[in-house]
């Protein structure tokens, strides 16, 4: 038996194995099922569109440039805001950053919450350009890792005549890095692109600011490792 004949025989057997059956479903059932499904799909699309419009409005209310400042014990208002500033019960100010928008408004909101600050948004990181920044930044600002970026500030720990200098950079619209300095009010400030910041500057700043990296806290044989 040739291959073709064998194939024909097998396929014929398969065809014969299935009885001569008929569909019992009338075409009207198919048509009405399709109609009602189309109607449901239309309603679903309408609902999705309505939700999208509502979400768009909500985002518009808290769009970039419209951060939210909630003084006192008020709860967080719009969680979708680009940023929120809140003063907790102990006087600590919490800044939550989701997007970099309206740095001037953020600076203003911080001032309203008792935090004198300069907020710089861009590709560069800013420093006090003459001399060292003021010590004790670690007592004033804590910045746990994660997203959204949360910065906790204790205004009470800020030395008299000082202000905070925040440098915020972004990647694809999201906050990517936060640099902060504690500087004298009115001190000259310069900003550098990160690739121009030398390890020596970072070392100098680390020694001045952080007790954990202060030379007096180093054990024998240990040193701070700074990557370029």
């Amino acid at each position: 038996m040739s291959g073709d004949e064998a194939t024909r025989e097998v396929l014929g057997a398969v065809k014969a194995a299935v009885p001569d059956i008929h569909m019992h479903t009338p075409v009207q059932h198919i048509v009405s099922a399709a109609r009602s499904r189309r109607r449901r799909r239309g309603l679903t699309r309408l609902a999705v569109f309505a939700v999208a419009v509502a979400a768009g409005l909500a985002l518009g209310l808290s769009a970039p440039g419209s951060g939210r400042s909630t003084p006192g014990a008020q709860p967080y208002g719009a969680k979708l805001a680009a940023w929120t500033v809140r003063t907790g019960a102990g006087g600590a100010v919490t800044v939550t950053l989701r997007q970099l928008a309206n740095a001037a408004a953020l600076q203003h909101a911080l001032a309203e919450h008792g935090v004198p600050a300069i907020v710089h948004v861009g590709d560069s990181i800013c420093f006090q350009s003459d001399g060292h920044p003021l010590p004790g930044l670690f007592r004033v600002v804590t910045h746990p890792p994660g997203f959204p970026i949360v910065i906790r500030i204790r205004p009470a720990a800020m030395p008299h005549g000082s202000e905070l200098l925040f440098s915020l950079t972004r990647i694809s619209g999201a906050v990517a890095y936060v640099g902060q300095e504690l500087i004298r009010i009115g001190a000259p400030v310069s900003c550098l692109h990160p690739r121009h910041i030398t390890p020596a500057r970072i070392r100098r700043r680390a020694r001045a600011d952080c007790p954990r990296t202060h030379p007096s806290r180093f054990r024998n044989g240990t040193k701070l490792l700074v990557h370029d």
Binding site: G3, A6, T7, V10, L11, A13, V14, K15, A16, A17, V18, P19, D20, I21, H22, M23, H24, T25, V27, H29, I30, V31, A33, A34, R37, R38
Partner: protein, 168 residues
Amino acid sequence: MEADSAAEFAVFYQASMDRCLRAVLASVGDRQLAEDLVSEGFVRALMAWRKVRQHPAPGAWVVRTALNTRISWSRRHRREVPLTGGDAPALPGPEPVMDAALLAEVRQLPLRQREVIALRVFLDLDTQTTAAVLGIAPGTVGAHLSRAVATLRGHMSSHISDNEEATT
């Protein structure tokens, strides 16, 4: 225009529903499930009629949709508990007898081989059209068909030899 499409679909449905049902039944083995799947395939065909009516083999589109629907239904109902005997729905009437052993062997074939069998045997599609419907090369259709035939032939041979032994 709408009425024309509905009339066109009705003609297509009447002409191809039984062939589609047999093609799907060969693959799933359950008469009621096959009818549900084919109905679902036709409902989807009607919803996409503007596209399906231009398809080289609209019946094959329905069969493929039905077989794919079977996969998604079985995924969805995988954790369902089957009805106990007392709650089982009554069958409407006596069902025609199938060559259960051969069809059981067909159901063991991989999906692609079953699709090729369904399109070639029950919808009488040639290799080129089958390849176009499945989106594969004609040579691949041939390969799937010859593998399926070899498997089924092996089953038929063993079945024949079993019967001969039983009669002697």
